[in-house]
């Protein structure tokens, strides 16, 4: 989106989602994965876009996994308005289309390298919010100058009114059962396996006791 003036809150929402679904390397990832690769791995363990996952909570978790904690958008009034919109105030078809597109993007066999997020104001056929094009739920895929496939997710807003204030909207949205920590990709699963394995645990303890040997091993 090339907006002439832009708004801070819109930019923050789009930027955090664009980062989370980007093919840029994720800092400090032990496996050197990209943001979207790590998200895809996570998606294999937890389907973030099934009907049991509420969109405001998913957005909050995605944003926090990028910022390391600070909530998005930074303006609390805008944030509550945004979470309120996601909390069941998008038309059902639009919410279903968002879930469908992002599920396709994160599927293991997806050939989409990254996603960009945008909004635009335009009269829509349904007279309400729609995901371009016409809530069809299929990724809208383009190819960039480097030959990478990317998906544009454009939320179309039909109304001229600002998003309603929502001072009572839960912020952050409440935890849901079955959530898994984003940073916990393959690395954490490996650690869990290690903890369960008595043999590996013993080795670990042995290393602690014999520091010199461990250093020697490390040098090798």
């Amino acid at each position: 989106m090339g907006s002439f003036i832009g708004s801070q809150s819109d930019n923050e929402i789009c930027d955090v989602l664009i980062t989370r679904f980007s093919n840029k390397p994720k800092p400090n990832d032990p496996q050197g994965r990209t943001w979207i690769r790590q998200l895809r791995d996570h998606f294999g363990n937890e389907n973030l876009f099934d009907a049991g996952h509420l969109l405001p909570r998913v957005f909050h978790r995605l944003a926090a996994s990028v910022t390391g904690g600070p909530r998005v958008p930074s303006n609390s009034r805008s944030r509550r308005r945004w979470l309120h919109l996601l909390n069941g105030h998008l038309p059902g078809n639009t919410e279903a289309a968002i879930r469908s597109v992002l599920t396709a993007v994160l599927a293991p066999n997806s050939n989409i390298d990254y996603v960009i997020f945008s909004t635009r104001h335009v009269p829509t056929g349904s007279g309400s919010f729609e995901l371009y094009p016409q809530n069809n739920g299929v990724p809208d895929v383009y190819v960039d100058a480097n030959g990478k496939n990317y998906c544009k997710l454009v939320l179309e807003c039909n109304t001229d009114a600002p998003l309603p204030d929502a001072p009572n909207e839960p912020d952050p949205p409440a935890r849901q059962p079955g959530e898994k920590v984003f940073a916990a990709g393959r690395a954490t699963r490996t650690r869990k396996v290690a903890k369960k394995s008595g043999k590996k645990s013993k080795k670990s303890s042995a290393r602690k006791k014999t520091g010199k040997k461990s250093k020697a091993k490390a040098r090798r």
């Binding site: 090339g2 003036i5 635009r120 100058a145 807003c157």
Partner: protein, 187 residues
Amino acid sequence: MLFSDRLTEQEVLEAKGPHREELLDALLCDFRSSFPDLTFELQLGFRIIEAQALQLQDKRTVTLYGGLALHPRLGQDALTFILLHESGHHLAEGCPLPRDPSLACECSADYWATTTGAETLKRKSGRCLRMSAVISELNTVISPRQKSGRKYTGPGSTSGCWANGWPSRRQALFDQARPPAVPGCCI
């Protein structure tokens, strides 16, 4: 765009007059004839103070929303520049926009607007871009609104792009400064 500022009803009433409609019609007519590959849309029904370039499938659109089109402090010079800048997102060469790689970055769009875009518009329609008037009009709209966006547009930004803040952007527009050529340096 969901959180964009809007013109008040009073401001819309101030700007809505027969001359404004004529001005907008003439402006869009000139742009459509000068840049036939682009689609120019006027969305007066939306009072957001915004304009947007967006490519969806093969359609490259420039949209001018009511809040800018009817802004009482913006005249034909600022509106001409705004449409040129948005056209520049589609037609300029340079770094891609990080938020949409199908578009050129902000400073490439500005540079194109003040050079190739302005020349093409003048040649094909006779409409001139008067930068001093543009800056004077935009000063009243952009400066106060960019203060709230310091996190992204303020001096603390890590981007090397001069389009980060209005003062440096304004100077670059006057100077017709070339945009940075390093990919990823722009907003």
